[in-house]
């Protein structure tokens, strides 16, 4: 029993820290730490910087340009980047569609798509959910009809994160009405520039544009862009879900958010001569969420160690998602409350980096309440927490 990272892993942590300190542009860092809006180019700039070091997808097999890192090293990379204020590397390309292409794709697909994920040339978004297919994903209706060498796709996807920035979308589409709902689904890679695709913004409760509807009106997709066999897309979908394991715990992001919460509470006046962090009622709540975060970290390490031994992911990721999302929400709630009477302020213009006007309220305060509203999403996306509980009950408890 040893809860420590190895000396090699600690060395890597030092390397990552030094790299990020030297290479992360201050303007991007300030946006991230200041909760400002990130532009497409901000994400891509960071992807290119990471790629110069081979760190966009270091877990990939060497033959696809990766370094075959294990989950512990990835965790260190993600955590150090998050703590330093780097934009997240979005999962859709490197951690979602890429493993599917590696496992079920043909050599031509691998050769074309994988390198473009690393360089950022392709920005991927995810075409899974539909208005009528959320938790019950297999009931999806977007259909793809075969016409010669193409599929003609019609239907609607929704909740598509940052589709406004994406140039490719991986989609689950219905290619057959026969048999169980899961049986007639195929996995297609679709160029967002294809005629017939319309992206419509969905404005979230914080007033921001992060997600979209994606409409398909007779969109032609070459059959060559299907991954795996026709009607076997569900296998890819399930495989993909098993790959989003540790990052859903959001360990690094929550550590950063906790650090920020403490800073806000230490600076927040209470009218009584002592800052909010010294008010026992509030301090206890910070302490509790910090303890929860400590437990999450050990759980993450345990799951990583477990995966290392069995080589196949188990259902424990659902525990991480449940607990990790609860922590994200708890911290965002406390940070909002720490703003006290200033919590209601909404200053959307100030969220843009080129805003030259003034910002009202406490200095570290911009975007905090918006994040609280926005973070209700974390217990809904990537398999709602109710779905996670059902997975745990079924696969870990045998109920």
């Amino acid at each position: 029993m040893d809860l420590n990272f190895s000396p090699d892993e600690e060395r890597l942590r030092g390397e990552v820290r030094a790299f990020v300190a030297a290479k992360l542009p201050a303007a991007i860092r300030d946006k991230v730490l200041g909760h400002k809006r990130l532009e497409r180019e901000d994400f891509l700039t960071w992807v290119r910087i990471l790629n110069s070091r081979g760190w966009v997808a270091p877990a990939w097999p060497k033959k696809f340009g990766g370094q075959e890192w294990d989950a512990a090293r990835q965790l260190i990379l993600e955590e150090e980047c998050a703590l330093a204020g780097a934009p997240p590397v979005l999962s859709f390309g490197p951690r979602m569609v890429a493993p599917v292409i590696m496992t079920f794709g043909n050599p031509a697909q691998q050769e074309y798509f994988l390198p473009r994920i690393l360089t950022g040339e392709h920005w991927w978004c995810q075409g899974y959910s539909e208005p009528g297919a959320g938790s019950d994903l297999a009931s999806l209706k977007t259909r793809a009809e075969r016409r010669g060498d193409s599929y003609v796709v019609n239907g609607q996807k929704t909740w598509t994160t940052l589709a406004q920035y994406a140039n490719w979308i991986f989609c689950l589409v219905r290619t057959s009405q026969e048999g169980r709902p899961q049986a007639g689904i195929s996995f297609l890679l679709i160029d967002m520039k294809s005629p017939g695709i319309t992206v419509r913004p969905i404005v979230m409760l914080d007033g921001e544009h992060e997600i979209n509807e994606v409409w398909f009106d007779n969109v032609e997709v070459p059959v060559a862009n299907r991954v795996g066999a026709e009607n076997e897309g569900w296998t890819c979908a399930k495989f993909l879900l098993g790959h989003e394991r540790v990052s859903n715990a959001a360990l690094g992001a929550s550590k950063r958010a906790l650090r920020e919460l403490k800073a806000i509470a230490a600076a927040a006046p209470t009218g009584g001569g002592r800052p909010l962090i010294e008010v026992p009622r509030f301090r206890d709540r910070i302490a509790e969420v910090e303890i929860d975060l400590m437990a999450l970290e050990v759980m993450v390490l345990r799951v990583i160690a477990m995966d290392r031994e069995r080589h196949t992911p188990g259902p424990e990721a659902s525990l991480l998602k449940l607990h990790g999302s609860r922590i994200q929400q708890a911290i965002s709630e406390l940070a909002m409350e720490a703003l006290g009477p200033y919590a209601p302020l909404h200053q959307p213009l100030a969220l843009s980096a080129d805003w030259a006007g003034s910002v009202s309220g406490p200095a570290p305060g911009l975007g905090i309440t918006g994040r609280y509203f926005n973070y209700r999403k974390v217990s809904i996306y990537a398999g709602s927490n109710e779905i996670q509980r059902s997975i745990i009950a079924r696969h870990m408890l045998g109920l």
């Binding site: 040893d2 809860l3 512990a72 910090e290 303890i291 400590m294 437990a295 509980r389 079924r394 109920l399």
Partner: protein, 372 residues
């Protein structure tokens, strides 16, 4: 990073589990609890045979030597089997203090501890101290070559049955620890029973006179020793709670799979499934923190150690409450009877929270470090 147990640890676990499954049945637990002494001599003798009483004592002092994770393995099994014998109090806490700071003469007792012939108790609690180790009303005054102790101790685990007690008392230069024989004049020990059947004592020291060599370590150097002992106890209790939660979860799972209402097993109801998932989550969080607590016992940095200990005790307390209450609820009427092990686990888990600092106490300790 390595979350596996060594071959020796697995052997300890297996042999102890086998022994306890065969011997320490619920009926046996009940009988020991009813007897009121909190310790079955036969069980204790077999603990000595199994070697676990010498786990916290180096070989050079007559034990078998072990680390915090060996202790964790044992405590988990004791928790799983609802053992009320004062293992923690003697083998980990009491022995730990003597190993760390006892004089050679005091350490000579340790071989007898390992052999099961002597039990130790740590008299840390006082009527007005709640769980604060530094808040002591008991005084020790120097009189010639002796010390004279006056004060009251409360809720001392195995305090009435122990052969020797470690007694913290305030002296001129701070807190000091004394090793005192259980059968001493001017010390009154009253045995009391707790809800889980174990035994605690109220102790009155009314001019108890001990010789200079009763002092453990140096005068005024007792607080760090008491804190270390308390931390060992907390780590042990966390592991015990994890074992108890494990067993309770398994019992509850088996119950909801077999208990039928409305023509189906009640475990098929989503209302229960989701709550069972939360129970598992909280039990696993507790396990994670018990690992952390045991790992940090050896931390050189005192702040780091105490932070982890308080975090663990708080979180394990919270998990134990949730798992315990939910287990009883899911057993329905059967959950509130004495007949099933369910209620016994629930009671034990509840009492663990009140031992060596409850959730509020440790949250306060942890929080204080935030603003320090």
């Amino acid at each position: 990073m390595d979350f596996t147990f060594t071959e020796e640890q697995t052997q300890i676990r297996d042999s102890l589990r086998r022994f306890l499954t065969e011997t320490y049945t619920l009926d046996r637990h009940r009988a020991i609890a009813r007897a009121g002494t909190g310790c079955d001599p036969e069980i204790w003798r077999q603990f000595a045979e199994l070697g676990i009483l010498g786990l916290g004592i180096p070989q050079s002092l007559g034990g078998i030597g072990g680390d915090a994770f060996d202790a964790l393995v044992v405590m988990e099994e004791l928790g799983r089997a609802l053992v009320i014998e004062p293992y923690l109090s003697t083998a980990l806490v009491g022995a730990g203090i003597l190993v760390r700071a006892g004089s050679p003469a005091q350490q000579q007792l340790l071989a007898a501890v390992a052999a099961g012939k002597i039990r130790l108790a740590f008299a840390h609690g006082e009527p007005d101290s709640r769980w604060r180790l530094e808040t002591l009303a008991t005084r020790a005054a120097r009189e010639g070559a002796s010390w004279v102790l006056n004060g009251r101790k409360a809720m001392v685990p195995d305090g009435a049955g122990a052969d020797y007690l470690v007694i913290p008392a305030r002296t001129e230069s701070g807190v000091s620890l004394f090793l005192v024989p259980g059968a001493s004049e001017r010390m009154t020990r009253t045995a009391l029973t707790t809800h889980d059947g174990s035994s605690v004592a109220e102790i009155t020291l009314d001019g108890l006179r001990v010789s200079a060599d009763a002092l453990i370590g140096v005068e005024g150097g007792g607080l760090p020793l008491a804190e270390a002992a308390s931390d060992v106890a907390v780590a042990g209790l966390c592991s015990e709670a994890v074992g108890a939660m494990d067993a309770l979860l398994a019992l509850t799972l088996a119950y909801v799979k077999t208990r039928r209402q409305f023509g189906v097993p009640i475990g098929s109801f989503q209302a229960l499934q989701h709550r069972m998932a939360d129970m598992l989550l909280h039990a696993e969080l507790a396990r994670s923190m018990s690992y952390l607590a045991s790992a940090k016992l050896a931390a050189r940095d005192l702040v780091e150690r105490r932070r982890a200990i308080s975090a663990a005790k708080f979180l394990v307390g919270r998990s134990a409450r949730l798992v315990g209450q939910e287990a009883v609820q899911m057993h329905g009427g059967m959950g509130v009877t004495e007949e099933l092990a369910t209620s016994h686990y629930f009671k034990r888990l509840t009492l663990i929270n009140a031992s060596f600092g409850d959730m509020d106490h440790h949250l306060e300790q942890f929080g204080a470090a935030l603003t320090a």
